[in-house]
């Protein structure tokens, strides 16, 4: 249907539209008009993706000079593929309606592992191996050697692409990863480099967060994106953690050991080259004197290590004299390494800031701040000069050099924590140096600064005001949308007590309590008897799950549950978990029924959807607080309090509730779906917790569903499940939660729609 969104003609590829989609597009349009950033929360399964795409594409077509590019960031490869499919639908609709040929270029980009078509390289299993192998075939000096020595193997696909691929632009169309590969095979061009080149002039790019947020990759891939782009972060509820992870470095003794070997290899290579080709090293020295700018001429394949956010002025400067020659630099790294080793040889926990660390290193081994800052750049240059093909081996020394650069560049927002052992195993020495980023805004700042509109959207972003604060930006729109429903298809229940009136909670003091564990077991047992097909249960942590399951086994509860349903458990092993998931789905499919025990913040809670019968009920045992004793977290909380005036408790609750909402949200993936959401902890009933749930869940939490006993829960659940099993057709939705064009244009519907969006 064709919609008129405040004067903008939007083609929407479906015959019906949800009222909240219309509302969402309105808000989005206003954000784009204002050329500002936006935070939008809309429940999953209400067609966020297609609303985003339809509006932004329409905007691009209407104002080609205002918005030139859409950069859509998603989390996983399947999600990326889904977005491309929606886009294809939209473009087909455009072609059908307007009759014009599609002149849009949209493509997905992923790692080499997903895009490589080289027969040998693509057969490797791990991403790192593929990258390393690819590099050893496509690096510039390898190709130079190939000229003089044709027996040196190169990748013919890259050669082809390099020869002609850049002159001929890729024809307009929608390309997902497979389409790119097909295209590459047909032309004999490398799809990965083709895609990386093509994103510069593509209208729509769909790729992973990391291509924008991780400074090491962003610098390579996304550097040249125009300012007039709209950037969308979908499923962005964890965006702060992604930012932090991309800037943090962990160094263990193993890393140092491997680094040591790296250094030795470097040293040997240097001395060998010195004998054979001293001119080369001299040439490098000359280059370094002239400054890094020239060295930084981007040769896209020379990806030794990319640049952590280096302020531009550093690149203009010359490398300091103390590390200019190769031997000196290796000596320098050696000294640094010895220092780190010494620091790791401790018996108590040390926490210090970056300036403290710099001061200490200066006093102990006389390493200055300035050379440290150039460490990453210098290593990059050295590795290129030495023509070391397989960079995969040098990850350890790369990591160390990153650390050196980061620690000397940022004096604020980072902390260094050295722990001699893990908390769980205080007897086993396993020293770790955490260089931890505490400020997610550091990584995302360039994104907000560079692009005119950045949209952060997800199903669970409540409370909305906290994201702008921790990411340090000023959105022009923040809005939360509810799900309009023809029938109440979600049923959140807060269970606070067992039948014996003992409070149920995963609070630290009572979590080992026998009665609490028994009550949790009874709850699961009762639910397994009345909920059909699949139940997903989430625990707060792996250890807690292990303890509870062990104790259920002793009490015989597990046996009783197994009479009703099969039990599957998520473990830390990815292969094991995916096996369990597969079997779980099979059991749900053939009527056996199953329970999946998993962990909040685990793989299952984030990426796996449990549509329809795969998840008729989600039980959240306890409040999934992050492990509060961890020093990194403590440091981060302190930083948040000092810098952003966010109280510790507020942040912890916010973090726990967003994960709880993520977990329970797994069950509802659309309006025809239905599911129970059971929060098994009495603390959920408190206003400060309840108020932080997304609005579309809160809306259905009545006073009657707070602090229930197990019996009451069973009654309510039974009633709900029977109600939901009654036939439900599309006609029932029509006019209420599903609109045709005429219905949409009626006056009172427009009024209703105005109420859907709640500005934060």
């Amino acid at each position: 249907m064709k919609l008129n969104i405040e004067g903008l003609l939007v083609y929407f590829p479906y015959d019906y539209i949800y009222p909240e989609q219309y509302s969402y597009m309105l808000e989005l349009k206003r954000t784009l008009d204002a050329k500002g950033h936006g935070v939008l929360e809309m429940p999953s399964g209400t067609g966020k993706t297609i609303s985003l795409l339809s509006l932004i594409v329409a905007y691009q077509k209407a104002y080609p000079l205002e918005v030139t590019k859409l950069v859509y960031c998603s989390r996983t490869v399947p999600e990326i593929e889904k977005v491309v499919e929606e886009l294809r639908k939209l473009m087909d609709y455009y072609a059908k309606q307007t009759g014009a040929k599609n002149d849009f270029l949209a493509l997905a980009l992923s790692s080499r592992k997903n895009l490589c078509i080289h027969p040998e390289v693509s057969s490797l299993r791990f991403g790192k191996e593929v990258d390393g192998k690819c590099h050893s075939l496509t690096a510039s000096y390898i190709r130079a050697q190939h000229h003089s020595n044709p027996s040196q193997p190169v990748c013919q696909f890259y050669e082809q692409f390099d020869a002609v691929g850049r002159q001929v632009p890729i024809p307009p169309g929608i390309y997902n990863l497979d389409d790119l590969k097909d295209f590459g095979r047909r032309k004999g061009w490398c799809p990965y480099f083709l895609a990386r080149y093509a994103i510069l002039h593509a209208n729509i790019v769909v790729y992973s967060y990391h291509y924008l947020l991780d400074p090491k990759i962003a610098d390579l891939v996304s550097k040249e994106l125009t300012k007039k782009s709209v950037v969308v972060f979908d499923e962005a509820h964890n965006i702060d953690n992604v930012c932090i992870d991309s800037m943090s470095v962990n160094i263990t003794r193993r890393t140092l050991d491997r680094c040591q070997t790296n250094v030795e290899t470097l040293q040997n290579t240097i001395s060998r080259i010195k004998e054979t080709d001293a001119a080369k090293l001299r040439e490098e020295y000359r280059r370094l004197v002239e400054g890094l700018k020239e060295a930084n001429v981007a040769r896209e394949t020379d990806m030794y290590l990319s640049n952590p956010v280096l302020p531009d002025e550093i690149l203009q400067e010359a490398v300091p004299g103390s590390i200019r020659t190769a031997e000196h630099f290796v000596g320098f790294i050696k000294r640094f390494l010895e220092y780190l080793k010494a620091r790791l040889r401790i018996h108590h926990v040390v926490q210090e800031s970056a300036p403290q660390f710099l001061k200490d290193i200066y006093e102990k081994v006389c390493i200055d701040r300035k050379p440290l800052r150039f460490c990453a750049e210098r290593l990059r240059s050295l590795l290129r000069t030495l023509e070391i093909a397989d960079i995969a081996d040098f990850s350890a020394i790369t990591l160390i050099s990153h650390f050196a650069t980061l620690v000397s560049t940022y004096s604020k927002g980072f902390t260094i924590i050295i722990e001699p052992f893990e908390d769980r195993t205080p007897t086993i020495a396993n020293p770790v140096l955490h260089f931890s980023c505490m400020d997610p805004s550091i990584a995302i700042k360039p994104v907000f600064g560079r692009f005119q509109s950045v949209i952060i959207t997800s199903g669970t972003l409540s409370p909305l005001d906290i994201y702008p604060r921790i990411l340090d930006f000023h959105p022009v729109t923040t809005a939360s949308f509810t799900m309009t429903l023809a029938r109440t298809c979600l049923c959140p229940l807060i269970v606070g007590r067992g039948n014996d009136q003992v409070a149920m909670t995963s609070k630290f003091e009572t979590r080992e309590d026998f009665a609490v564990i028994r009550n949790y077991g009874n709850l699961l047992l009762e639910m397994s008897a009345i909920v059909p097909d699949g139940i997903v249960a989430f625990f707060t942590s792996y250890i807690y799950m292990e303890n509870i399951v062990a104790s259920w086994y002793e009490q015989g509860i597990l046996e009783n549950i197994q009479r009703n349903k099969l039990i599957f458990i998520e473990t830390q092993d990815a292969a094991e978990t995916s096996m369990a998931l597969e079997k779980y789905q099979e059991a749900c499919e053939n009527g056996r029924g199953a329970i999946l025990l998993s962990v909040a913040r685990g793989k299952v809670s984030e990426g796996i959807d449990f549509v329809h019968h795969f998840g008729r009920a989600v039980i959240m045992f306890g409040v999934p607080y992050v492990y509060t004793q961890s020093r990194i977290l403590k440091a981060r909380l302190e930083y948040l309090r000092d810098q952003f005036q966010i109280r510790e408790n507020d942040f912890l609750t916010f973090d726990a509730m967003r994960h709880a909402a993520q977990c329970v949200g797994r069950a509802i993936r659309g309006k025809t779906d239905y599911g129970l959401m059971i929060f098994a902890d009495k603390r959920y009933a408190r206003a400060d917790k309840r108020g932080k749930l997304p609005r579309w869940i809160q809306e259905h939490l009545t006073d009657g569903s707070l602090n229930l006993t197990i019996d009451e829960t069973v009654q309510l659940a039974k009633h709900f499940l029977r109600q939901m099993a009654q036939p439900f057709r599309q006609e029932d939705q029509l006019g209420l939660s599903l609109l045709t064009l005429e219905q949409l244009q009626s006056e009172d519907m427009l009024q209703k729609i105005a109420q859907i969006a709640q500005q934060a």
Binding site: C588, E589, N590, R592, Q726
Partner: protein, 388 residues
């Protein structure tokens, strides 16, 4: 106890905001809305006029009753099993009342296996007796959908076309992949319908969708009864099924009295395989083809396989083919004429009156229901037919 099906107890049902449904009229009285609610309840009837479709009149229905552990649940009173069996008795009676030339068979499933309670037969008495006896059986283990469906589908040659599953459990314990069996059922053109007692189970959804049956889940006991009654009416026959002629015998009932010297007491052929004590009787129905004797109709002759029915039986199936059209509903205020119901002669007090489209006679709500549900013909039209 009264015959009205008991609704779930107030405290068991959901939290109803009954006061929100009520609205005051202009004078501040609640009476109007209360009457409206009662009226709606009375009129809650399915008006799905089939129109001109072919119905499968000779039905062969197998009912599979889940009697696993979950049937002991007490959300139906006194428990699911007893309640189900009671409703089943009612269903069997109603079924034979409406489909006199059809047959039914009952299977129970528990403890992972299926058991035939009664074989396919056209006589309600045997089924009722078996159902009464089944009340005392214990409910153990899990049901097996596969085994029970297999139990029906396996014996080839019988032309079973319908299966009704009453499924209480949420799980099924199957020895093999049930989706294969669903394909077989589909190929055999067997319609499987399911009535769920607890919640929607995926495998049942697929089963009914693939085989073209219906799937319903009960809300309470009265809803359960309603859903069961939906299965009393014969389903529309699929267009691919051929019209077939069926040989039938219409035996005469021979009445012999003790005083008659020629009469000799004899056994009914039905007693051949029944375990009950054989009774010697004097009169009976004699198969017109082989002279075997039966005491009850309808029955399939044990000797020559002829279907024996009585003419009134056949006649009763007739109304399905020509269902009485729904009466026209008009509000009382708009109706002008004598305010008396044609049949019960009572005063028309309800909000609406019902007019037969053919004879223009007027009826009250109660009589309208009675005419459509039980009589299946309009008394007004009958009268005019006779007089003309």
């Amino acid at each position: 106890m009264d015959e009205e099906p008991e609704r779930a107890k107030r405290w068991e049902g959901g939290y109803e905001r009954t006061w929100e449904v009520l609205k005051e009229d202009e004078s501040g009285s609640l009476k109007a809305t209360v009457e409206d609610i009662l009226f709606q309840a009375k009129r809650k009837r399915v008006f799905e006029g089939h129109g001109q479709v072919r119905l499968g009149m000779m039905r062969h229905l197998f009912v599979i009753i889940d009697s696993s552990r979950s049937m002991e649940d007490q959300d139906l009173k006194p428990n699911r099993l007893t309640s189900t069996l009671k409703l089943m008795e009612f269903f069997v009676e109603e079924y034979f009342d409406q489909n006199p030339i059809s047959q039914i068979g009952i299977i129970t499933t528990k403890n992972k296996r299926a058991e035939k309670l009664t074989d396919l037969a056209g006589n309600p008495k045997k089924h009722l007796a078996a159902l009464k006896k089944a009340v005392d059986s214990t409910c153990v283990g899990e049901p097996s959908l596969y085994n029970s469906l297999n139990c029906v589908a396996l014996p080839s040659g019988t032309d079973i076309k319908e299966i009704l599953v009453i499924f209480s459990s949420l799980t099924t314990c199957d020895p093999a992949n049930i989706y294969e069996l669903i394909k077989t059922l589909n190929a055999l053109k067997i319609r499987v319908s399911v009535i769920g007692l607890s919640a929607e189970v995926r495998v049942c959804t697929i089963l009914t969708r693939e085989t073209g049956g219906s799937y319903n889940v009960i809300l309470d006991e009265s809803h359960f009864k309603e859903l069961l009654m939906l299965h009393v009416k014969p389903p529309p026959a699929s267009s691919s099924s051929e019209c077939s002629l069926i040989r039938m015998g219409f035996p005469q009932h021979v009445i012999a009295s003790m005083s008659d010297q020629d009469a000799k007491p004899s056994f009914s052929m039905l007693h051949l395989d029944s375990t009950g004590e054989p009774g010697l009787t004097l009169g009976g129905y004699y198969c017109p083809q082989c002279r075997a004797k039966y005491t009850e109709l309808p029955v399939e002759c044990k000797v020559c396989g002829l279907t024996l029915v009585s003419a009134p039986h056949l006649a009763r199936s007739f109304h399905h083919l020509f269902p009485l059209e729904a009466f026209q509903e008009t509000p009382l205020e708009e109706y002008e004429g004598e305010r008396f119901c044609e049949t019960c002669q009572g005063e028309l007090k309800d909000k609406c009156v019902f007019t037969c489209l053919a004879c223009k006679k007027v009826f009250c709500v109660e009589c309208d229901l009675f005419i459509h549900d039980t009589l299946h013909c309009c008394p007004g039209c009958m009268q005019t037919d006779r007089t003309s």
